[in-house]
């Protein structure tokens, strides 16, 4: 087997066009990636664009809400009853011609403990939502459901542990969750908050992709039976100073108090940010597509050249075991492409990230784990595509149809799913079932069920996790390789 691998490696590296092609593919990944990185420019009214806030784990977040708060020294508890929760949505579909009374599903009203009022500061909250019952949410990404019909909320701090409770009648309490918020100072801000994310819809564009529309909404909550009296202070956390006409002429974000009742109104959201926050490192991967085409061509030729020149007969005379021969060839092309792809993406990602930041642009941060997953995942995508193309070449024995079929199997479904007229529904299925599922390795930011954003393939969100996408491609490549082995064992060379 070792001899076979060495023989096949010798074949691969001595054909100038093949080795040149693979080296070229690596160079294209680096070159196009860096070119794309230098092409990113952002301009703002001010000299330096303000960077969006980042949460405790360094990820970009939305943190804009109305907060009626007071300091809490040490441990303590706050209880309140949400007596009324209403809102408005400005100009929703179908006609976009009127203000509608109502709450968006993830409108939030509740109690919060937060490390100050700076956007992005650590927090934990117990809240009532527009359509998803009560929840306990903390530090932007965490979300746990509580009882759906409860209107009494309670939050309590004990050290770094914060417990959230909900109750239907104010007598029988059930704990939703106890969460640990590391690094909370001795004095935190505790209070009532209201947030109302934009009403977002995505419609299919006439020329492909989707048109995302976001409409201003505002929510108003009336809290009574508030357990704490004392001096409340209001902050419009994360306010960018821009007011919509609704806020100017009807009701600005703020709070009023009448006896023991506090009425709080506000807009915004407390959630992880998505791709809309700015360019993510995915932009450095433009060269991977070109490299995929080159890899397909080389992998197909690696097999079909054996038939074209009758070399296969010599090869089989020297190494008669056909299954082993085909696997050895597959292993060689897979290994070489993986190493070349890994080297190229491992260089491109950090350098491109540095270039984008060095030129004064904001780059949406991703965790080290995500970066490693993108680098290794792209190498695996290239490598498995090579095996797929090679297997198609072995099955068809002819270069042109093999290249065309491999392109139709890997690149075209991705294209159809991301930039064509195909609606999101079937597009998502293409990215589940076809070899293009493996493009999921590129996703830089996770999607969250508790965030009302249009997560679509054209926006850079894939239906499968990276590992599952790679498995789909591996299954296709493996299956075709098996067919190729069966065919080569039965047919004449």
């Amino acid at each position: 087997m070792i001899a076979m691998l060495r023989a096949e490696w010798l074949k691969l590296r001595t054909v100038t066009g093949w080795l040149g092609g693979l080296v070229g593919a690596a160079v294209v990944i680096v070159g196009l990636g860096l070119l794309a990185a230098t092409g990113i420019t952002t301009s703002c009214m001010t000299a330096v664009c303000p960077a969006p806030p980042t949460g405790p784990d360094g990820m970009v977040v939305d943190d804009h809400f109305s907060f009626v708060h007071q300091p809490l020294a040490g441990d303590g508890t706050l209880t309140a009853h949400v007596a009324n929760f209403t809102g408005i949505i400005t100009y929703p579909p179908p006609n976009h011609d009127e203000l509608v009374e109502g709450l968006v599903p993830w409108a939030k009203a509740g109690l919060m403990i937060k490390d100050g009022t700076k956007p992005g500061a650590a927090y934990a909250s117990v809240l009532l939502t527009g359509a998803h019952g009560t929840r306990m949410q903390d530090n932007f990404t965490e979300d746990h459901a509580g009882p759906a019909d409860a209107r009494f909320l309670r939050i309590s701090r004990s050290g770094n542990t914060i417990r959230g409770y909900a109750s239907v009648d104010g007598a029988q309490w059930s704990e939703i969750r106890a969460v640990t918020i590391p690094g909370l100072p001795a004095t935190v801000q505790i209070g009532l908050f209201v947030a109302s994310p934009s009403d977002v819809t995505a419609t299919a564009g006439a020329h492909g992709g989707s048109i995302v529309q976001a409409r201003f909404t505002q929510a108003k909550a009336v809290f009574d039976q508030v357990s704490t009296a004392g001096a409340w202070k209001f902050d419009n956390v994360g306010d960018d100073g821009v007011q919509t006409d609704w806020e100017k002429y009807h009701q600005a974000a703020g709070y009023t108090t009448d006896g023991g009742r506090l009425t709080v109104s506000g807009s915004g959201d407390i959630a992880p940010a998505g791709q809309e926050a700015g360019p993510s490192i995915t932009f450095a991967l433009a060269g991977v597509f070109v490299a995929l085409l080159v890899v397909i061509i080389v992998a197909v030729l690696f097999m079909t050249a054996e038939y074209r020149h009758g070399l296969l007969r010599t090869t089989l005379t020297a190494m008669p075991h056909r299954r082993r021969l085909l696997t050895a060839k597959a292993a060689v092309i897979a290994g070489v492409v993986f190493v070349a792809g890994l080297a190229a993406t491992a260089v491109t990602l950090p350098v491109a990230a540095h270039l984008i930041r060095a030129r004064g642009n904001f780059l949406v941060p991703s965790t080290t784990g995500t970066s490693i997953r993108i680098v290794v995942g792209c190498a695996a995508l290239l490598s498995l595509t090579a095996v797929l193309a090679y297997a198609i070449g072995a099955l068809l024995r002819r270069g042109v149809p093999a290249v065309a079929l491999a392109v139709l199997a890997v690149l075209v479904p991705y294209l159809l799913a991301t930039t064509s007229l195909l609606p999101t529904g079937p597009a998502v299925w293409l990215l589940r079932l076809t070899p293009a599922a493996a493009f999921a390795v590129q996703q830089a930011l996770p999607s969250y069920p508790q965030v009302a954003k249009p997560y679509s393939p054209s926006g850079g969100y894939y239906p499968l996790p990276a590992w599952a996408g790679l498995l789909v491609l591996a299954a296709w490549a493996g299956g075709l390789l098996l067919l190729a082995v069966l065919r080569t064992r039965r047919a004449d060379a």
Binding site: A36, G39, H207, A286, R308, L415, T418, L421
Partner: protein, 249 residues
């Protein structure tokens, strides 16, 4: 014996036709083009979309790959097998050989595209609720444009094969021009760059001929876009034919 040019022309055509039709697999490419184009179009039509006419012709965006492979194979295979030497010894006027191949390819693609496009449009009309009347100007323009576009892609494939001679490399280059362009555009940030690249590349510009809705937001208007694809076809084939005449085989 000195052959008169017009006889020679017919002879060349007949020779090329014989080469095509005696190949056992000669019907594979036309049939595959029809199956792929109509199949994808019908599937897309069953989902509908914002531009019903374009959706009903979505198969053209996939079928063009088969047409490109067909065109490349027609010429590049002769280089691969060495048959081209025999061809040029028998018919030394190389330009005529290329012209004959182009003429036969064009008539084949014309017939194939007519069948595929007609079937796709009829299926779209049956499946999509708000499909415009078949005699509407935009529908006729999109359908006719689709046929012309596929013919342009065939000539482009022939031209690239004449330039590169390697069948596999030529297929890769043509499919790269067609399919990598929109992917790269997706990665460009600067909107001006996006529009400029979209306007000058054969696939992105040419396929605008399928659009019938919201034309003002397109980077290039449908007929001008088709013109870009046709220009690519003629320039590439022109350069390819010149190179074939000037170069050793």
């Amino acid at each position: 014996m000195i052959l008169r040019p017009e006889i020679l022309r017919a002879e060349v055509l007949r020779a090329e036709w014989t080469k095509i039709r005696t190949l056992r697999s000669w019907l594979v490419f036309p049939l595959l083009t029809i199956v792929v184009t109509v199949g994808v179009s019908v599937t897309a039509s069953s989902f509908g979309g914002a531009d019903p006419v374009h959706v009903s012709l979505l198969g053209v965006e996939i079928g063009q790959a088969v047409v490109a492979a067909w065109a490349v194979q027609l010429l590049a295979d002769e280089f691969g097998t060495g048959l081209i030497r025999a061809t040029f010894i028998a018919l030394p006027r190389r330009l005529l050989v290329v012209a004959a191949k182009a003429a036969l390819l064009l008539s084949g693609v014309l017939g194939t595209a007519l069948v595929s496009v007609t079937a796709s449009v009829l299926a779209g009309r049956a499946l999509i609720d708000d499909y415009p009347a078949l005699t509407d100007g935009p529908v006729l323009r999109a359908a006719g444009g689709a046929v012309l576009y596929l013919m342009a892609i065939a000539l482009l494939g022939l031209g690239v094969a004449a330039l590169l001679r390697s069948a596999v490399a030529s297929t890769g280059v043509v499919l790269g021009l067609l399919y990598l362009t929109p992917m790269i555009i997706d990665f460009l940030i600067d909107p001006d760059w996006k529009r400029n690249v979209f306007k000058v590349m054969p696939g992105t510009a040419g396929l605008t001929v399928l659009s019938t809705v919201d034309l003002a937001t397109l980077p290039i208007q449908p007929l001008a876009g088709l013109g870009v694809a046709v220009a690519w076809a003629f320039v590439t084939l022109g350069v390819g034919a010149t190179v074939i005449c000037a170069r050793d085989v």
